[in-house]
Each structure stands twice: as structure tokens, then as C-alpha cells.
């Protein structure tokens, strides 16, 4: 089917896109799922994530049973820690093995006596280091808490000079480090990517399996028009869903203050959607059937979600991974979204990300266009 090259016609693109929208409207299951992912799904993800140190399970072995050890025990309370469980030394190992406690603090006999006598006794803190996220921050916290309880206790008995230099630490953009602020936005980004790939890629495979794509290919429309129609129609659906989620769930239900311009964020999201819908079409040209597409989608979505900087900081990834992930639109979208929504950054700050996403999108679009007619028209 050699088609002479011609510029895509806006009318064709518009009508084909409306066709896409109708086929989505006629699929109530998909509509319900879309609504779920962008409302309840985001709410659940945002509210589940504990703030950095939240409800950490701690148990204390108090072998001293002194006023000082009681003070230390009393300093652990929610929300940072669970109310400490008082256990015996014998219970400590089993409790840690079962994962009941992340921390076990052992206050040795004669602790208070030794403190007062200036003998610098040592308490012992056991940390379950397989729980990386809490092990670090938690042990730092506990160290400080015990030290300050002990020094306050000592100061009442003998005077100590106050620290000469005070460090005033302030958290900018999220003063209480609330995880929901971060989690809700990252979940929107994850869902935007997931949905746009399903809606374009999987839908294309379906048309192929049912043979309806043949109808399109014999009509006087070009592959570029078919693709652009899918990009704008499905991009629009996801963009609207993201806007509802941002205003309704994130700002409304979760009460996250949005610093920057929602319009700018939507603009970046639109460019991102161009890239991800093109990615969906590209994946559909690679897969020969829906089961293959399903596999491919898992293999693409998991790294996109976990390594784009939305779950763990980019800085801590190996340089190789950091560089490879620069090829993913998500990485740039996460950077831009954080800058706009939390730090109130404007276009002057996020334009490099915008350019990167647009370039990746153009590349993916060109690649799928090149493969489209060759692979789509032949079924396996």
C-alpha cells in the first residue's frame, strides 16, 4: 500500500480522534477504571506512605528501672514511634527476627548511677537494617533523643555550658516533610504514564487483533493522521483526568498547598503525554499480540516508576542508571513537576526539562511512524 507522502490533514486528525473518544465512552469498564486510578488510587497511595519516620516499631529492654530510664522510655511516643513495648532481654531476638520491632533499645543495669558518677555508660540500640528507610533516620533520631534526655537529666544535677553555636535547620517547600505532598503528585505522574500507554498501545493492538485497523488503512488517511488522532484524543482524556486529580484529590481532599502555576504544570503534562502516547504506539508496533504487549508494558512501566526519581532520589542511583534514565520522559517530568508544584518555579526554570520531554516525544513519534504501516498491517 504505497501512499504518497502528504501533510496530515487537521480535519482527518480531528475526526479520527473523535472516533477514539467515542470508542472509549462506549467502554464503561475503562471509564470506571480511569476514574478509580485518578481518585481513590491516588488518595490511597498518598495517604498510605508514612512520613519519613512514622510509627516506627520500637521495644525497650529496661534493665535499669531508674527515673532516668523511665524518662528515656517516656520520650518515645507517636507519631514518630509506636508506644514502646517493654520486653525482656530474652524476647528481643525473637521480636526482631519476626520483624515485630525495627529498633530494640537496651538500657543496661546501673545506667543512671553511672551517668551521675560520670562513668559514661553505653546503652545499646539494635536496628533491623533490612528496613533501610527507617534504619538510618530512626537510629539518628534515637541517638539524639537519648542524648538530650540524658543531658537534661544531668543538667538538673550539675550545670553544663550550653552549646556555643546553634544550628537552625529549616525545611523549605514542605516544612513538616509531609509525605502525602510528595506521594500524591508522584502517583499522578505514574498514572498518567500508565494510562496513556494502555489507552494508545493496547487499543492499537486490539484494533489490530480485531482487524478494524485494516479499515483505517484502506481509507484515504495516512498513518501519521491515525497516530496523531490517537495522541490528541487519548492525551486529552488523561490530561483532564490528571487535572481533576490535581485539583480535586491533591488540593481538595489531601489539602496539599500547590505553590506554582497549575497551568504551567498542565502544559508540561501535555508535552509529557505526547511522549508517552507515542511510546504506547511504539510499543504496539513492537508487540505481536496483546499478551506480548502486556509483558512489554510491565517491563517498561516498572523502571519508569521506580527509577525516575519519584520513589528514591536520583542522586543516590549509580551514575549509569541516572544517565540511562535521562532517556525516559518521566525523569524530566518528575523534575519539572517537583520544581513547579512544590518550589513554585516558572518556565524560566523548567524549560530544559520541557525541551527534553518534547525531544524524546518527537523521537518516539518518528520511530513509531516509521514502523507503523510495516508492522501494523501484517498480523502474525
Amino acid at each position: 500500500m504505497p501512499a504518497p507522502f502528504k501533510l496530515p490533514s487537521p480535519a482527518h486528525i480531528y475526526r479520527l480522534g473523535v472516533k477514539e473518544l467515542w470508542s472509549l465512552v462506549r467502554d464503561p469498564v475503562m471509564l470506571v477504571l480511569i476514574v478509580y486510578t485518578f481518585t481513590l488510587g491516588i488518595y490511597a497511595a498518598a495517604t498510605a506512605m508514612p512520613d519519613s519516620l512514622h510509627n516506627a516499631a520500637i521495644a525497650i529492654v529496661d534493665e535499669d528501672a531508674s527515673p532516668l530510664s523511665a524518662r528515656i522510655v517516656g520520650s518515645f511516643y507517636p507519631p514518630n514511634f509506636k508506644t514502646p513495648e517493654m520486653i525482656s532481654l530474652a524476647q528481643a531476638d525473637a521480636g526482631m527476627d519476626n520483624g515485630d520491632y525495627t529498633f530494640v533499645l537496651d538500657i543496661p543495669p546501673g545506667f543512671q548511677r553511672d551517668v551521675l558518677a560520670g562513668r559514661v555508660p553505653a546503652a545499646q540500640l539494635n536496628v533491623d537494617a533490612t528496613r533501610m528507610s527507617q534504619a538510618f533516620t530512626g537510629s539518628g533520631y534515637i541517638q539524639q533523643m537519648v542524648a538530650s534526655e540524658v543531658s537534661e537529666f544531668v543538667q538538673r544535677t550539675r550545670s553544663q555550658a550550653p552549646a556555643p553555636v546553634d544550628l537552625a535547620l529549616r525545611m523549605r517547600f514542605n516544612p513538616n516533610l509531609e509525605q502525602a505532598w510528595f506521594g500524591s503528585l508522584m502517583e499522578i505522574i505514574n498514572n498518567v504514564t500508565m494510562l496513556s500507554i494502555i489507552l494508545t498501545g493496547a487499543a492499537l493492538i486490539r484494533e489490530r487483533e480485531h482487524g478494524t485497523i485494516e479499515h483505517l488503512l484502506v481509507m484515504p488517511v495516512t498513518p501519521a493522521e491515525i497516530m496523531l488522532a490517537k495522541v490528541w484524543a487519548m492525551g486529552l482524556v488523561v490530561l483532564l483526568a490528571a487535572l481533576v486529580a490535581l485539583l480535586g484529590v491533591v488540593r481538595g481532599a489531601l489539602q496539599v498547598p500547590i505553590q506554582g502555576s497549575v497551568a504551567l504544570f498542565m502544559g508540561v503534562a501535555a508535552v509529557h503525554l505526547f511522549a508517552t502516547t507515542s511510546m504506547g504506539i511504539f510499543m504496539a508496533t513492537l508487540a505481536r499480540s496483546m499478551p506480548q504487549f502486556g509483558m512489554l508494558m510491565m517491563l517498561v512501566l516498572v523502571p519508569l516508576q521506580m527509577l525516575s526519581g519519584g520513589s528514591t532520589p536520583r542522586e543516590s542511583m549509580p551514575h549509569f542508571v541516572q544517565n540511562v534514565m535521562l532517556a525516559a520522559p518521566n525523569t524530566h517530568f518528575v523534575m519539572a513537576a517537583q520544581a513547579i508544584l512544590y518550589r513554585g518555579a516558572g518556565i524560566d526554570v523548567v524549560w530544559p526539562q520541557l525541551v527534553a520531554i518534547a525531544a524524546i516525544g518527537a523521537l518516539l513519534f518518528a520511530a513509531s511512524l516509521a514502523r507503523f504501516r510495516r508492522t501494523i498491517s501484517q498480523m502474525d
Binding site: L53, V120, V127, T130, Q134, I198, M297, A339
Partner: protein, 404 residues
């Protein structure tokens, strides 16, 4: 295909229970027939074998994902960028800035010129930390009057900010101790000390903590996606008629279909476990049979979840979508991969406690890192043991023997 559509082609209502004595050789329809289930196993294995791309994607894909997640997801926060706004420019203030730049956690950026510069660079995300030293810092310190150093941390990513706070506080303390040694000739004496023992993973490295946790993640995502289309695809392409019009029962049909995927997933499990021990060098401290038993129960759950998604949806896209929703979010966020289940809140905590991945994750970490035996892991085995038949039973219950 061993079963053809002719035999049970009876008028409605469908022959859920054809007359007795209909097939003397086979057991009575309605009772579970291993033969019929096995024929579906053969059919499904053939489909898997004739589409090698899919099985290869599944096996190779998990291996690749294990590498990128194992190496890529790191909890050690390093290479943080910072800059100093030194409005004092005295020897002491420079000494303080120098103390930071010596740390392996921080990378120094050009000094901050003024507040506008500080604001702009923090907004763009260029700086994770900004330190401000007020004018007169050195002079006041010499005089012994109290002074303050201001530090701003980018809180946009809370977990990273928390780590930065810890680093900065520790460095501030060590600078104070240094100062005390230099100026007063003695180190400050603490009233007590706290010895911290990091257990199960003494070097607190990410890899030994992550790899045993990645195995449950991958064994949920990939096997469930493999089975997710197995039933609904037949619905969409029409071959489901074989179920409707032959004596095969729903349980024979589903269990028969599930078996090859369970086998593939177990092979996948052995592959991942072997990789963990050899390539990643994460020692398997506990018993391998215990881990394998748990993995078997777990992959029955994960393939079963795919079947559930496949039985109640009508289109392949719907099944894909449901499977993604039911596996990706709960696995990555609610099952203890990053945050322990006990710290979760709200709906996530509820899902996390029930979800099979949480329990297999506890077992996997327990066997890999803590050398636990099956008896001390009982609390996690029971839920898996209950979940496996429950999930498969749900799939059977949701499958219709005849389209409504």
C-alpha cells in the same frame, strides 16, 4: 486440541451436567477430572511454547528488572548538592564551610551571592541544602556570645530531606567537637553513649536489603500479567466456546490453565534466587527449601490474581488495566518494599496486611538475611497458605460457564 466443541453442543440450558454414562471412560462430569485439566495444561503450554517471545520476555525481563532495581534503587543518599552563603567571610566561617565540603555525602557548588540567588537556586532544585552564616559570626564566637547558623533543606522530597537533616546535624556536632578540642584543648564529654548495632545487614548496604525484596515484587508483577489474558483472550477471540460447550468444569479449565504458568514462575524464581546468590553476592543464610515452598504458594497467588482479573473482565485491555492496578501500586508501595507495612496508614495499611507480597517479602528477607526457619516464619506462612486457595477459588467462582 483434545476437546472439540461438538460433544456438549446441547440446547440451552447448557450442559453443566450431561447425562450420566455419557462418557464411560472419563470420570463423571462435574467431578474433578485430572485428564481434562491436564489437557488444558497441555493446550496452554503449547501456546506458551509457540510464542517464545512472551516466555523470553518474562524470564529475561525479570532478570533485567532485577539488575536495574537492585542496583538502581538505593536508599543511601549521597552526592547531595549544597552551597554556602557566607556573609561573615572570617576564618571561622570558612572553617565551617570547609568542614562540610570534606564530607563524602555532599558536593559543593559555587558560593551563593545573595538571598535572591539562594531562592532561585533552591527553586530550580540545583541545591538540596543551603547554609547561611550571618555577619559577625566569627567575632561573636570568639567573644563567646551565642550565634546561629541557618540551614535550609529542600523538603520537596521528604525522605531525602530527612537524610540531609541527619547528615547536617551530625556534621555540626563534629565541628563543635573539633572546635572544642582546638580552642579549649579538650573534647566535650557526653554523659552517656549509644552503641548502634545494625543487624542482619551490618554494612547497611542497599543491595542485600533490596534484592530479597525485589524477588517478591517481580514474582507478582510478571506471573500475574502472564495469566491475566489467558481467559479473557479466549473470550475476546471466541475460543471460550470450548469451555461453554464441553464437559470440562470451570475448576478443571482454570487449574489446567494455571499450572504451566506456575511452573514458569517457579523456574523464574529459581533463576532469580540463583542470580541473587551468585551475581549479587547476597548470601542465602536460611533454608532454600523453605524459601522455595513459600515461593510456590506465592506464585499460585500471583498467577491466581491474574486469573481473577481475567475472569471478570470482558476485554483484554480491561484485564491488563485491572492487573496493573491490582499489582503495581500494592507491590511497590504497600508491601514493605520501601516502608515497613507496620508504619503504613489508612487504606494502604489495610491492603498491605492482606496482600500476599507483604508476607512473601517477610519470608524472603527472613530466609535470605536473617537465617530464619519455617517455624519462626509461621506467622507469614499461614496467610499465604490461606490466600492461595482463596484467590484461585475466587477466580473459579467468577468464571461463568455460560455467557449471561
Amino acid at each position: 486440541m483434545p476437546l472439540s466443541g461438538q460433544r456438549g453442543a446441547a440446547p440451552a440450558p447448557p450442559p453443566a451436567r450431561p447425562p450420566a454414562g455419557h462418557t464411560p471412560a472419563a470420570p463423571r462430569p462435574g467431578r474433578f477430572s485430572l485428564g481434562r485439566a491436564w489437557s488444558y495444561t497441555l493446550r496452554e503450554s503449547l501456546e506458551l511454547r509457540r510464542d517464545p517471545v512472551r516466555a523470553t520476555l518474562a524470564l529475561l525481563g525479570t532478570v533485567i528488572l532485577m539488575f536495574i532495581i537492585g542496583y538502581g534503587m538505593s536508599m543511601d543518599v549521597e552526592d547531595l548538592t549544597y552551597a554556602v552563603l557566607d556573609r561573615d567571610q572570617s576564618g571561622l566561617s570558612q572553617n565551617y564551610a570547609l568542614n562540610l565540603s570534606g564530607s563524602r555525602y555532599f558536593i559543593e557548588k559555587p558560593p551563593i551571592a545573595d538571598y535572591a540567588d539562594l531562592d532561585r537556586r533552591m527553586r530550580s532544585g540545583e541545591l538540596a541544602l543551603a547554609i547561611e552564616i550571618a555577619p559577625g559570626f566569627g567575632r561573636s564566637l570568639q567573644r563567646g556570645s551565642p550565634v546561629e547558623i541557618a540551614a535550609w533543606v529542600d523538603g520537596a522530597m521528604p525522605q531525602r530531606a530527612e537524610t540531609v537533616r541527619g547528615y547536617v546535624l551530625a556534621m555540626h556536632q563534629s565541628w563543635l567537637a573539633d572546635m572544642s578540642v582546638h580552642r579549649l584543648g579538650r573534647a566535650p564529654v557526653a554523659a552517656s553513649t549509644l552503641e548502634t548495632r545494625f543487624r542482619y545487614n551490618p554494612d547497611v548496604r542497599s543491595l542485600p536489603a533490596m534484592v530479597p525484596a525485589v524477588i517478591p515484587l517481580l514474582l507478582m508483577l510478571i506471573p500475574s500479567m502472564l495469566t491475566a489474558l489467558s481467559v479473557v483472550r479466549e473470550k475476546e477471540l471466541g475460543s471460550i466456546i470450548n469451555l461453554y460447550v464441553t464437559p470440562v468444569t470451570r475448576s478443571e479449565f482454570l487449574l489446567g490453565k494455571q499450572l504451566p504458568y506456575v511452573a514458569l514462575a517457579m523456574f523464574n524464581f529459581f533463576l532469580l534466587a540463583a542470580l541473587a546468590v551468585t551475581v549479587f553476592g547476597v548470601p542465602l543464610k536460611g533454608s532454600a527449601p523453605t524459601l522455595a515452598l513459600a515461593a510456590l504458594l506465592y506464585v499460585i497467588c500471583s498467577t491466581g490474581l491474574g486469573l481473577v482479573a481475567s475472569t471478570f473482565t470482558r476485554s483484554q485491555i480491561g484485564a491488563l488495566f485491572v492487573t496493573l492496578i491490582a499489582t503495581l501500586l500494592p507491590c511497590v508501595q504497600f508491601s514493605g518494599l520501601v516502608n515497613p507495612v507496620s508504619s503504613l496508614e489508612g487504606m494502604g495499611a489495610f491492603v498491605g496486611r492482606l496482600y500476599p507480597a507483604s508476607h512473601f517479602l517477610t519470608i524472603s528477607r527472613g530466609v535470605f538475611s536473617k537465617a530464619l526457619s519455617i517455624s519462626s516464619l509461621q506467622a507469614s506462612f499461614w496467610p499465604l497458605l490461606a490466600a492461595a486457595p482463596l484467590i484461585v477459588g475466587l477466580a473459579i467462582a467468577l468464571l461463568k460457564k455460560q455467557e449471561a
